[in-house]
């Protein structure tokens, strides 16, 4: 079955305040940002009869701006806007690379960061970057505002910890403690464009003057029901020199934090091997 336009009701708030009020007044309404996830479902006839809360008129949630503490991205900022922003390119390059890996130009022109997060796919390509930058998700409802650390935002496959009536308003990125020595974004899909990731990685590495690891942050998507920081690997590497031996041991610890599966796109074994290769190449530099 197809989507039936006549069966839909559309609410069009003009401000954040109005969006929050409408969301509270109409429980079960479906927020709509760029529609690149939602419209696929609708075209398959799965959302007929629903009430849509079209957020595209909420100008306050569009902005990408620099703050004293870092970067603030409105939930409605598109992947293209992030990709092309000079400040983001300079200070948060992994976010730029991730945004440029979402679908292709047409998807980046419509799809938003807020929509990517709220959709909570295990394969969301921006998530490893958000995890290593330790993003904070600002959410708002009629009851007020709260901030959820990105690491606590997802509840499972396609599930978030948003309460009913809550909307994502902004995503905050604190400046990293200093410039990382090495950084990495890597997406592995069947082809370069329009492919859902088999595995997707982001990493930041700081080394001390003696070449020992001061801090490592490494995250993987598509390797578990939700994006994962490799806490065991990160802890293990701290204070060590990144020799071949240490790197091999670090790679062996990967499976403590991920649990890849076999599915239509890939196998658990392939996913783990490729992710380990990406981590090894990153650590060895």
């Amino acid at each position: 079955m197809r989507g039936s336009p006549g069966s839909m009701t559309v609410l069009r708030p003009r401000s954040a305040a109005e969006a929050v009020i409408l969301c509270a007044k109409h429980p079960g309404c479906l927020p709509l940002a760029g529609g690149t996830d939602l419209m696929v479902l609708w075209n398959m006839g799965e959302l007929n009869g629903r009430r849509i809360l079209d957020l595209s008129g909420v100008a306050e949630w569009r902005a990408v701006r620099k703050t004293a503490a870092g970067l603030r991205v409105g939930a409605l900022a598109t992947h293209a806007e992030l990709r092309d922003d000079a400040f983001v390119r300079r200070e948060f390059p992994l976010l730029v690379q991730a945004a440029a890996a979402v679908g292709a130009a047409q998807i980046q022109n419509r799809g938003t960061l807020g929509g990517n997060i709220a959709n909570a796919s295990p394969a969301g390509d921006t998530f490893p970057a958000l995890a290593v930058y330790e993003a904070q998700i600002r959410v708002v409802s009629a009851k007020g505002e709260r901030v959820i650390p990105f690491s606590e935002f997802f509840a499972g496959v396609k599930k978030t910890n948003l309460a009913p009536g809550e909307l994502v308003s902004e995503i905050e990125f604190p400046f990293p403690p200093s410039r990382p020595r090495r950084q990495l974004f890597r997406k592995v899909g069947t082809r370069a464009a329009m492919a859902i990731s088999k595995t997707v990685a982001a990493g930041l590495l700081w080394l001390g003057p003696d070449h020992r690891v001061r801090e490592l942050r490494f995250a993987l998507g598509s390797m578990a029901p939700t994006v994962r920081r490799l806490r065991a690997v990160e802890e293990f590497a701290r204070g060590k020199r990144l020799t071949t031996e240490v790197t091999a041991q670090a790679c062996n610890l990967m499976s403590q934090d991920v649990c890849p599966i076999d599915d239509v796109r890939s196998t658990a074994e392939y996913r783990l091997r490729v992710s380990q290769n990406i981590l090894a190449a990153f650590l060895l530099g």
Binding site: V10, M39, W42, Q106, I107, N109, R110
Partner: protein
């Protein structure tokens, strides 16, 4: 009522607000140049420009088009008077069955200057389009060899 422009012409749409842009263009305005391939955002056949940016019109509900500037393949030329990009596709075999062509043309029509004549950059820019016929090589050639509008002289 939702108001926007299509190919430079003011339009007022009065139907259901959740109708897809592709269906509004084809059914309400008779602009059947825009094609539907997959209906899932994957193939790029339905690509049109919204405020000069390529988007897949099968994923756009018309309620989001208030005040926007929409351009379809019909804006590039007429049957007897093709635009330079269209002529280049004709000359270099960039179209076979032609189903993907309107979408490809729209994305190609706004390629940044930096991609001019650079096959790799053209391929990257067109990566959101699938073609079942050409094998892409002739599409890339057609785009690379299309005469570009001359940059306007800064003086005077």
């Amino acid at each position: 009522m939702i108001s926007f422009t299509v190919n430079g012409r003011k339009r007022a749409y009065k139907g259901p607000p959740f109708k897809r842009l592709i269906d509004v263009l084809r059914e309400d305005f008779g602009l059947t140049g825009t094609k539907e391939g997959c209906g899932e955002g994957e193939c790029g056949a339905c690509t049109v420009l919204v405020d000069r940016k390529p988007v897949t019109s099968c994923l756009v509900p018309v309620c989001q088009m208030e005040g926007r500037r929409i351009e379809t393949v019909e804006s590039l030329g007429r049957e007897q008077r093709l635009g330079p990009l269209q002529s280049s596709f004709l000359e270099h075999g960039g179209a076979q069955c032609g189903f993907c062509t309107p979408g490809v043309l729209m994305t190609a029509s706004v390629l940044p200057k930096s991609t001019a004549g650079d096959p790799l950059a053209i391929r990257r820019a067109l990566s959101g389009h699938l073609c079942r016929c050409t094998g892409y090589q002739t599409i890339v050639e057609s785009v690379a060899k299309a005469p570009r509008p001359k940059p306007r002289s800064r003086k005077r």
